[in-house]
Amino acid sequence: MIHSLFLINHSGDIFLEKHWKSVISRSVCDYFFEVKEKAVDPENVPPVLQTPHHYLISIYRGKLFFLSVVQTEVPPLFVIEFLHRVADTFQDYFGECSEGVIKDNLVTVYELLEEMLDNGFPLATESNVLKEMIRPPNILRSVVNTLTGGSNVGDTLPTGQLSNVPWRRAGVKYTNNEAYFDVVEEIDAILDKSGTTVFAEIQGVVEACVRLTGMPDLTLSFMNPRLLDDMSFHPCVRFKRWESERVLSFIPPDGNFTLMTYHVSSQNLVAIPVYVKQNINFFETGSCGRLDITIGPKQNMGKTVEGLMVTIHMPKVVLSANLTATQGNYTYDLTTKVLVWDIGKLNPQKLPNLRGSLSMQAGAPKPEENPSLNIDLKIQQLAISGLKVSRLDMYGEKYKPFKGVKYLTKAGKFQRLSLSFL
């Protein structure tokens, strides 16, 4: 299926190649470079390309292109999903997925790629299994390894691959048994100028960090599971029990993993935690404009809104901004024309305000459209959909684990859009 993989950095250097069948010359990438050149922005490179003898399927992650070469029909999502899994694995092993880190760990990376595919077909992609075969690097061991010639390849062989629980390794032991769950929700919303919700939905994800001895069998139940509209599960979740009882029953992988992602879409359910009063005017004469923005709390369930930040992509004609912020700092990037106002914590007693004048290129016509505002925020200890974990039960093991749940709400592509009509 997957014939070869090339890792290409932002400036177009191929810094790693791996072939699972016969070697394909790296000149095959030239077709890709040609398209990349035309696309200007790397995000605009189409993920699937056709060349006379090969097909190129690529992803762009962490300023790197993962370019795979295939020769025959294959579901493109199969390859794309796999490439993202490779990037996830690097992230998991090295803490980030960047050119520097890959170059520093070239041998480990190569060993991983060797295990992940056999003849172009995925072999071991579960983090638990891989970690048994190839140990993630840590500083102490790499020092010891250089001195003693020790290795980062596990000397015991993985058992996970063979068991009925392929995602979990056997013989896990901890002195402190803990299971933590993070419920993280992102609000995606588009509001029109009057603050009416045009589009809103909540993306949620339950991230787990489970460090439990043996083969624990967990059951996680929610107070209000009916809220969830659509979800996807880690393969460990028993689908049948969710269908019949709305509980998540699973034997967890060891360590960090995404237990499930979900979606809450009903518009009236989506609370918008802040309101924005905005007034941006560009004047026909005098090449200037005015800006006045105030932000206040709306439906925040009594929690503090933190990490508040407003980003505005100004029209090209705006040369500079002369503004005063009652709270936080603002910056205006002259080249990208992006105005960022970093507010921080929202104080309901004293609402933050940013106002002042914008100066525009002399003689240029007034921008057709007012720019849209993108708002970033965070609310700790709150899942905005109201989802709550009610209990976690453990079977199969006798000890009492420590259990914890955390909630967090973030802004997704939360944006305030000014609509005007033709």
């Binding site: 020769q71 077909f121 993985p158 691959q161 063979l162 019949s244």
Partner: protein
């Protein structure tokens, strides 16, 4: 610079390689490892390290695992180039193939089969055949991968490889399934006949197969189903709208007659596939979700397809690349089935952060979804897109508006007016695109729009984009009689600027001139001739050609032939309006989710999806003889699950024939806490909730269910309304391997609800029980099934415990029959005899019995033995021998049962096990079962 790069590092690497060679030849392991690491680094960077081959290959037998692995990496990379030297390493792998450790065997096969050296083909073939019969499923999986490697190295091996594939397809391990289907797809995708017998097994294993295997299996089964089942689509035919009719046209005539003859009944196997793939829509793996979606699209009855919508829309929140592929597929789907995606229209709204190709696809889908009801919302959305900074996208939006205008006649005028307003837009691209679209729209209804043409003629001087200028010229020419005053004036201007125009504009000028000459020759004769003269000497041969042709056609002369008379009819013929349609219109010729679909051209190795057969091929080809199953050995699976286990008093989980029935069944199940398992063979979905917590060293067969006996635990009179029954589901216990699984059915026959039902004190105190969760509340008339695990420690001593409600406590006890303390164990006849040999003397118990004549067949014996003991059938080559193997649940001691048939219904029953007490009890039970009818 390009010339320099290869030479300089090479010089450098030569000296470095010398030093690496030295390190490899040193006696120090750490130095060797360091050298190999650097070499792998060179390979990763794409540098040539082939000259180190002799030094590296020496280390192939190293004891150090990491060193060995790195050598393998090197070997696989360079063996093709250094074939002779590579042969030196082969014997090492051959040795490793016999290693007792399965991982060493697997990795040896992996490397051996990756060495692309033709001379070792026979060795590879042999190794693959041996590995395919290996006891370890992991090794068998590796052999499935090796099949493809060998096939690509030497296609002549095809026939032999197909034999191995056939064998591996029968494999019951979830580990193997995906890989062997992959091999099948690569080597012999047309050998559909190999799938028949494995079809149901693959369907049932599917949820437990790893994600990647699922994708491959689903795509293969989609193709399979299209050749084996009849179309489920014809019933909907009558009710469906026009859009759907168009879709059905392709699957043609013969069905019409067919439909009238008999109503459509879905093949149970067809239903099985649909049912078993559905849970996978919830997979985290986007490729799996997409493959299920395409399966439903190509195989499900029309009204069921929409269950995939939500999951597809979910994928739109994944990575950009995933969005791209999913949107492409939705674009194709939304042409035929607007209704599927219309409720999710807002998910296709363009965000300012979307990449260009994502934006274009979303636009495409929104246009496909437009109808009378939602068009105003969509147009409002489009209006904001037109203002986008991304001008290419704005232009695409204008095209989309044009398509909406032609498709929905109610809004044609609104759109047209909107587009005319855009003509005064500041941006050139927007104006140009609007002109082009207006031109197309006007063609569809030219009568009432002379005003717009005039308006455009006025704008003409300010428009510079060639395509737009050409479009305006064409419009004026085509409808010159409606703008009789303006047209000649425009021609005059064009005559002036002709030489400076782009080619397409020149061509349209020539056209305009010709048309005017025919309608208004008085005013334009001279102008036309001037333009024709300019065209005659143009640099572009197309224009010269066209000019010559036009002159001959319109200007009467001696040479001009008969065509001259018809010039007007030729040039000013009414022309059909262009149809503005989706660029995804023809994509449905490809299977959704494929690379070919994504590229809109047939990719190498693309397998055509066949049309439904008019008459279904023989269904019985998929029937399988099930060796382990009791009683109904030779019957087909589906009929088996139809049978109800008579003494359980509850219906089994239903026939596979109709969806409604099985849905009902599902609802019933919702009430129960744990899904009761009464099928003679569990479906995969059921198995999903039953993953045993422990990996067994021997493969455990879970399928030997005889009729289930239910025992009373608590009578409702003694239990003050609470009644409890239990049975042994004969499955590995979920909680602990040493426990026997027990299912308890609690029901409330009192008139008030019972609260907090749980298990209290137990005796003996050391008894290890895995209790069910406290049942908070049990309503009157309700019942609930719960699972428990009890460790009986291989004894038939009763487990006593208290069954408590909020108010009361009842002492109850579960006394297991000895046969329930066993787990089936699968082994070959050979192994059986070997193990039996080890358990002689004290460990052997035997008796001669006289059997009821009805029990004398081997099938009946199996049935009877399995009814009393949870053991596995060992397939036997001798007719007069029946053998069964099991292990005790707690200690895992082997229990071997063999029965030798003698003359006139007598038989010798022998039990070999180190648990002698159990043996005598088991002997008694089996004897009893066999001697009575």
């Amino acid at each position: 610079e390009v010339m320099l790069i290869p030479t300089r590092p090479r010089l450098f690497s030569v000296c470095r390689n010398e030093d690496l060679k030295e390190m490899l030849e040193s006696s120090k392991e750490s130095l060797k490892l360091e050298a190999m690491k650097r070499i792998v680094g060179l390979i990763a960077k794409g540098k040539n390290a082939s000259e180190l081959f002799p030094a590296v290959v020496k280390n192939v037998a190293s004891k150090n695992i990491e060193l060995k692995k790195l050598v393998y990496v090197y070997l696989v990379r360079y063996a093709e180039e250094q074939q002779d030297l590579a042969l030196l390493s082969i014997s090492t792998f051959q040795r490793a193939l016999k290693d007792p450790n399965q991982f060493i065997r697997a990795s040896a096969l992996r490397v051996l089969s990756s060495i692309r050296v033709p001379i070792i083909v026979p060795i590879m073939m042999l190794a693959i055949k041996e590995a395919a019969a290996d006891l370890s499923p992991y090794v068998r999986k590796t052999s499935a991968h090796a099949i493809q490697k060998l096939f690509s190295l030497d296609a002549d091996q095809k026939e032999q490889l197909i034999e191995v594939i056939e064998k591996l397809l029968k494999d019951k391990s979830t580990l193997v399934a995906g890989s062997v289907v992959m091999a099948f797809e690569e080597v012999c995708p047309d050998r559909i006949d190999l799938i028949h017998k494995n079809y149901r097994k693959l369907c049932n294993l599917l949820v437990d197969v790893e994600e990647w295997g699922q994708v491959v299996i689903i795509s293969m089964l989609t193709r399979y189903a299209r050749t084996q089942f009849t179309s489920p689509w014809k019933e909907v035919r009558g009710q469906s709208g026009e859009v759907m009719k168009a879709f059905y046209e392709s699957d043609s005539e013969e069905k019409k007659g067919h439909t009238e003859e008999k109503p459509y009944i879905m093949d149970p196997d067809h239903r099985l596939l649909l049912r078993n793939t559905k849970p996978l829509l919830q997979s985290r793996n986007t490729a799996v979700v997409m493959s299920v979606a395409q399966l439903y699209w190509h195989l499900a009855p029309k009204h069921e397809v929409s269950i995939v919508t939500k999951s597809l829309v979910r994928l739109l929140r994944s990575h950009r690349e995933v969005q791209y592929i999913v949107l492409q597929n939705i674009a194709t789907m939304s042409i035929q089935r607007k209704g599927m995606f219309e409720p999710f229209m807002k998910s296709f709204y363009v965000r300012s952060t979307d990449a260009t190709h994502i934006k274009t696809l979303k636009l495409e889908i929104l246009t496909n979804l437009a109808n009378e009801a939602n068009i105003s919302t969509i147009l409002r959305e489009f209006q904001t897109y037109v203002k986008s900074q991304d001008k290419a996208f704005a232009a695409a939006t204008i095209q989309a508006i044009g398509r909406c205008a032609t498709n929905i006649s109610e809004v044609t005028d609104t759109c047209l007016n909107g587009l005319v307003l855009l003509l005064s837009n500041r941006d050139e691209t927007v104006v140009a695109e609007s002109v082009v679209v207006i031109k197309k729209l006007l063609q569809t209804q030219p009568t009432q729009h002379s005003e717009i043409i005039k308006h455009m003629a006025k704008l003409f001087d300010n428009i510079t984009v060639p395509m737009a200028r050409a479009s305006i010229l064409w419009l004026i020419g085509e409808y010159c009689e409606r703008v009789p005053k303006i047209a000649p004036d425009v021609l005059r201007k064009m005559a002036k600027s002709f030489t400076a125009e782009e080619d397409i504009v020149k061509l349209q000028t020539v056209n305009l001139a010709a048309k005017l000459y025919l309608t208004n020759s008085k005013q334009t004769k001279l102008l036309t001739q001037y333009i024709l003269n300019l065209g005659k000497y143009d640099q572009n041969y197309d224009i010269r050609d066209r000019t010559r042709f036009i002159r001959q056609l319109i200007v009467p002369s001696e040479k001009s032939g008969a065509l001259n008379k018809y010039a007007r009819r030729i040039l000013l013929a009414p022309k059909p309006a262009p149809v503005l349609e989706s660029s995804f219109k023809d994509r449905d010729r490809f299977q959704l989710g494929t690379l070919s679909h994504s590229l809109n051209s047939k990719a190498t190795g693309y397998q055509e999806l066949s049309d439904w057969p008019a008459v279904a091929p023989d269904q019985s080809v998929r029937n399988v003889e099930i060796i382990e199953a009791s009683g109904s050995d030779s019957e087909e699976e589906s009929s088996e699950s139809e049978k109800t286990s008579s003494d359980s008093g509850k219906s089994s989980s239903g026939s596979e024939q109709s969806s409604s029935e099985s849905e009902l069944e599902q609802k019933k199940k919702k009430k129960t806490k744990k899904v009761p398992q009464k099928k003679s063979k569990p479906t995969a979905a059921d198995r999903y909730s039953e993953i045993p917590a422990v990996c067994w060293s021997l493969r455990v067969t879970t399928s030997s269910f005889g009729p289930v006996k239910t025992y009373e635990l608590l009578h409702h009179m003694t239990g003050k309304g609470l009644a409890a029954k239990y049975h042994f589901p004969r499955q590995p216990c979920l909680y602990q391997p040493s426990m026997v699984a027990v299912q308890v059915i609690l029901s409330n026959s009192s008139d008030h609800s019972l609260e907090e039902i749980h298990i209290g004190d137990r005796s003996p105190a050391s008894l290890s029980i895995h209790c069910f969760n406290t049942i908070e509340r049990l309503e009157p008339e309700a019942s609930v099934t719960v699972s428990m695990g009890i460790d009986f420690s291989d004894s038939t001593q009763a487990a006593n415990f208290q069954l408590c409600t909020k108010e009361d406590q009842f002492s109850v006890s579960i006394q297991p029959a000895v046969g329930e303390l066993l787990m089936p164990s699968s082994m070959t006849e050979q192994d059986f005899c070997k193990e039996q040999g080890k358990l002689q003397g004290m460990n052997e118990t035997s008796a001669t019995i006289t059997m009821e004549t009805a029990n004398a067949s081997s099938q009946a014996i199996s049935k009877q033995v399995l009814s009393v003991a949870n053991v596995g059938v060992v397939s036997s080559s001798q007719n007069n021998f029946s053998r069964f193997a099991g292990r005790t649940v707690s200690s895992g001691a082997l229990v071997l049962v063999s029965l030798e048939l003698k003359e006139s219904s007598t038989a010798l029953l022998t039990i070999n096990t180190e648990k002698t007490v159990m043996a005598s009890m088991l002997l008694r039970d089996i004897k009893q079962a066999l001697t009575q009818a």
